[in-house]
């Protein structure tokens, strides 16, 4: 589904991603872990198409199509979704209206008519129930005054509404209480299918107990330095990153 080859990216002249290689197949869950500042959010943003980050080298191939030159919205139309580590507050636009715009713009790009209002309402009801979101919440301004956990839950609600092929969830677990973590993970799992893929970026093994990864990657200083199965996450939880840093130093 997604192939990333030798990806380099810089911001303001500073290289942050230094040659990332990653292949994700439909139906898989990948976890990306790594110390603060190693480039996890940058990788997610570059895949999603953030212009501020300059892709200096490499390829991003989504289902046989090179998408590096596409705008963020065009990538979204092709099924890329990113749950933000820090969702942006948009006062004055309700969650519902925002979702209507997002869905209908995506449909427009795909040559489809606007979604009939009834169908839209039904979908909103279904997906908000899935994530146990109170209806009152949906008429509030997007993310404005939402608690940290509410913002994250709302991100996954958007994912549920948009039904992307590739979802990149950037620290969706941070800020969630134990019940919310279960609800949100459960939501993500329900949305999984053999045709889509999920990348979870996290610092904690806890999330991976719920959303069980097929592959775990360690990002260090802009490079993927280790990949393994879910046992790798357990090892990191117990031992931290020092051992990897040591090994990488020796190899380097």
């Amino acid at each position: 589904m997604l192939k990333i080859k030798n990806l380099h990216a810089s911001v303001e002249g500073k290289e942050i991603l230094k040659g990332i290689n990653l292949e994700i197949n439909a139906g898989e869950v990948h976890a990306i872990m790594g110390p603060n500042g190693s480039g996890k959010s940058t990788l997610a943003s570059v895949i999603a198409g953030k212009e501020e980050y300059e892709q200096t080298k490499g390829e991003i191939i989504l289902e046989d199509e090179e998408i590096s030159e596409l705008e963020a919205d065009e990538r979204a139309h092709k099924g890329v979704f990113m749950s933000f580590q820090y969702p942006v507050e948009i006062p004055g636009v309700s969650v519902t209206n925002f979702m209507k715009t997002a869905i209908n713009e995506t449909r427009k790009a795909q040559g489809l008519e606007d979604m009939p209002a009834k169908e839209m309402l039904k979908k909103i009801r279904e997906k908000s129930e899935l994530l146990e979101i109170d209806r009152k919440f949906l008429s509030r301004s997007l993310n404005e005054g939402f608690s940290g956990g509410e913002k994250k839950r709302n991100e996954i609600f958007q994912m549920a509404m948009l039904e992307p092929k590739l979802s990149i969830l950037d620290e969706t677990d941070s800020g969630l209480d134990i019940d919310a973590l279960r609800i949100v993970s459960n939501g993500v799992n329900k949305l999984r299918s053999k045709d889509n893929a999920v990348v979870v970026i996290t610092h904690y093994q806890r999330l991976l107990d719920y959303i069980v990864p097929d592959h775990v990657h360690v990002l260090l200083d802009g490079r993927i330095v280790r990949s393994g199965g879910k046992e790798l996450a357990h090892k990191l939880e117990e031992q931290g990153y020092d051992w990897i840093k040591e090994e990488v130093k020796v190899e380097g």
Binding site: H77, V88, P91, T101, A102, I103, A109, S141
Partner: protein, 438 residues
Amino acid sequence: MELKDKLISSFFAFEEQVDVNNDVHQLRTKAIKDFETIGFPRKKEEDWKYTSLNSILKEDYSLFPKKESAIDYNDVKKYFIHDIDTYCIVFIDGIYSSQLSNTTHDKIDACLMSSALHSPKYKAIIDNYFDKITPKDSGLNALNTAFSKEGAFINIPKNTMADRPIQILNFSTGSEAALMVQPRNLIVVGENSHVQIIERHQSLTENPVLTNSVTEIYAEKRAQLDYYKIQNDKGSASLIDSTYVEQKQESFCSVHTFSFGGKLVRNNLQFFQRGERIDSTMKGITITEGKQHIDHNTLVHHIEPNCESHQDYKGIYGDKSTGVFNGKVLVEKEAQKTNAFQSNNNILVSDKATINSKPQLEIFADDVKCSHGCTIGQLDEEAMFYLKTRGIPAKEARALLMYAFANNVLDSVKIPEIKQRINKLIANKLNVNLGFDL
């Protein structure tokens, strides 16, 4: 001939159209002399520093349309708030249109200035209120008073709720190559009475139109008035709107000004608080493009203690357009415990657009709460990225953010149909369909 000279020499012709044997005409004759002395405002005047009338005064305006034009209601229906029952006072090229109007004398008066000026029934009201609060140092006011003849006359007697909103519509048909009109409105809201008014100026062709409008509003004790100005005229039409509001104790008045269209629009909006516990509210949304110039010049004069004023103006300026916000809050020494809030937030969408924002607080009382804030910014890049990752293209994302920026000004609009209408106008102006009913 220069417009000023033309106006002065036309006064004799005008006198043949009106009854000259009454007090109002004495005001007119004095006013034309004042206009002759003062003339049109010039850029060196502090209040006109950023707005030059030169380009619009150059046109060769007709002052009196040669013929009465009729309009088919269906052609102009869209300019009415037509989905609710209203009274309508409609003028075509400055002349009353009985065919498009729906006036009343049942419990309230929503009718014509021309008849009110000469009817003995309204003499007391005219004597009491006409031309009492228009500042006399303004050449434009003097000019309007000199030619005052037609406009809306609204009188809500004591203890009366107007049973529907009242619309004042001024159409210009383009039957003249260029036309100048000078509507004069008088609105008196009696003690404990309520009314809602909607005003719109609309030209139907690309022929230049200059409107110099003066509205006096008097809100007696505990009166409540909501006034909505929809300014979405053609790019060839210019408007100078001067609205003066005098409020008595415990009255509430709000004026919402939605400025989307027009070549040059200048809004002079002044509130005078003569009583305690008064609330004066002014809100505005301005969205411009091309070379439009829109100027809001506001004043709240806090004269008595324990009153409030609220100002919230939002502006979005595109292309090479310019905006001006000049908001003055004057708190007299006696006006203790005044709460005066002013905010003016602007977004410049293009780097060739300009906004001149100048809040002025003059406070002579010591126990007051006054605040003002003015911001000028661009759209938030992170928010743009967020919306785009949800599949919303740049143009729509920009529009959505602009809509979101301006939107809370609509919270205080009490007529849902107006809110809906303004939302549509905003969407049109931003040239987007956002996939939900704005």
